[in-house]
Amino acid sequence: MTGQTEIRADLAEGTTGDEVDQVQGYLERFGYLGPIAERFAAFGSQPFPLAEGDDLADLVGRPAGVERGTFDSATADAVRRFQEFAGLSVTGVVDGATAARMNAPRCGNPDAPDLAEFSTSGRKWATTNLRYAIDNTTPDLSPGQVTTAVEQAFALWAGHTPLRFTPVAMSAGPEIVIRFAAGDHGDGSPFDGPSGVLAHAFFPSVPPAPVTAIMGDAHFDEAETWTVTVPPAAGTIDLVTVAAHEFGHSLGLGHSSVAGALMAPFYGGPHRAVEADDIAGIQSLYGGFPIAHAMWTHGTDLHVEVDANVESIQRFGFFTRVVGRPNTTNWYHFAVPTPVIVDGNRLAFARAMLRLVTGGPDAVVRDVHVYDGSSRIAAHQAVNLSGSLPFAVFGVPHKPDVFWGAGISVGVRTGTGSTAERRMDFISAGIDFLR
């Protein structure tokens, strides 16, 4: 309970004054704005829409900062998060119900919405260099498609931890073995035919158990029809999503009570991303990773692959606004300046990052590929991101040494909407490196 003046109702975006300052103070105190909000921005969940004519000056600090006393879009976002957490209708406006809730007596701990809902098995790997083998594949997909799906699933966890996932032969005794099997397959947990459960995985092995044991392994029910096509045909199951969820178990995570988390218990179609709760969970086991070096390039360094598919391209300060022609796809490339060797040490790739805003579902980032020279080292396929992406992370599963220089390629699908709906603002592209 704060003992301050009551928060007044009917405050909305555009309002200024002390009442707004008071709401901002409340939101900050309980974790909806400020340092915790910055953490959310780092997880990529906080919007920072660019309006027509926004320039770089307006972008600086936008995800984290608010102007005290001004009800700006960041404040409205924080109000929405508060309303969501409080179970109020999510309007971004401080209406009567919202003000009443803010004025209600309460303890002073930040709510930290959704940050502690993951669960863990209490087991984790003793090493961060995990080896995996694909023991068999499914007739539903080509072996190459299975390999790519598995890499993409591992990359989601690699992007937020020190973990590095390397494919090896079965004979090498990998920690994680991937198998497709139907019915009884010798581990005491027979599969149940189509639907029922889709897969299962085993929590990590703890010494002295040999790493070749079943611990860490992920099994997929061959009775399901697996796909990597998004959207999936009716009755087919997205292998990337299910593999990413199962690998969460292989790494030691249990189920999350956050409905939108990858580690929530129910499959709801393609979900090729880890959410804030998943990241908090996996970092509770393995921590983050020490970034030895980070390099960014501005959105103005964008290279367009197919000029004919661009309706207009404009550079504002340090970002580039592209409007794609209706019903086209295109690739946009960034060459990120790359420190290959620093202080006599060769660096390794950890992850790629993008900051961009699209006009909405008519300008969709379909694929993000990461390159070292001309070798593709990560492929995030059919991620289908649109709207505001203040900090989108694309992990590199094997975290290979750097040889030739980093490249990030962004595949975009443009729909048939208005010019504003088909626009993409490319702000920055970056790479984090490990020593």
């Binding site: 027979p190 459960v197 995985a201 969820h245 249990g254």
Partner: protein, 107 residues
């Protein structure tokens, strides 16, 4: 053995509810229509876990909740349980509650 029923907190009448208990040996269990706010009769199942595949038919058509897996989900001790079906937005939700003795009056 455990006894399980379904409670309908979705706000709409459900014309049919079917739950797939875990494992290959157990057949899906049909709970029939369940009124708004009402509960079905108890049905006997061999093994109950927090999650199961659920299929419902209602005014909005057919919906299903598909678990990825039951990793880390222990079989619950014998007793009476209620799967509570709800809606969050247009998404079906499922919670399992252990029933106290006082709640044990049949459906």
């Amino acid at each position: 053995m455990a006894r399980v029923r379904v409670r309908n907190d979705t706000g709409s009448r459900l014309d049919a509810v079917r739950i797939h208990p875990p494992g290959r040996e157990q057949d899906p269990v049909d709970f029939g229509p369940v009124e708004v706010g009402g509960s079905s009769d108890y049905r006997e199942v061999r093994d109950v876990r927090r999650f199961a595949r659920v299929e419902v038919s209602g005014p909005g058509g057919d919906r299903a909740l598909q678990p990825f897996d039951l990793v880390g989900e222990e079989a619950l001790p014998p007793g009476r349980y209620t799967y509570r079906l709800g809606l969050a937005g247009d998404r079906l939700t499922l919670d399992l509650e252990a029933d106290r003795e006082a709640d044990d009056a049949p459906g």
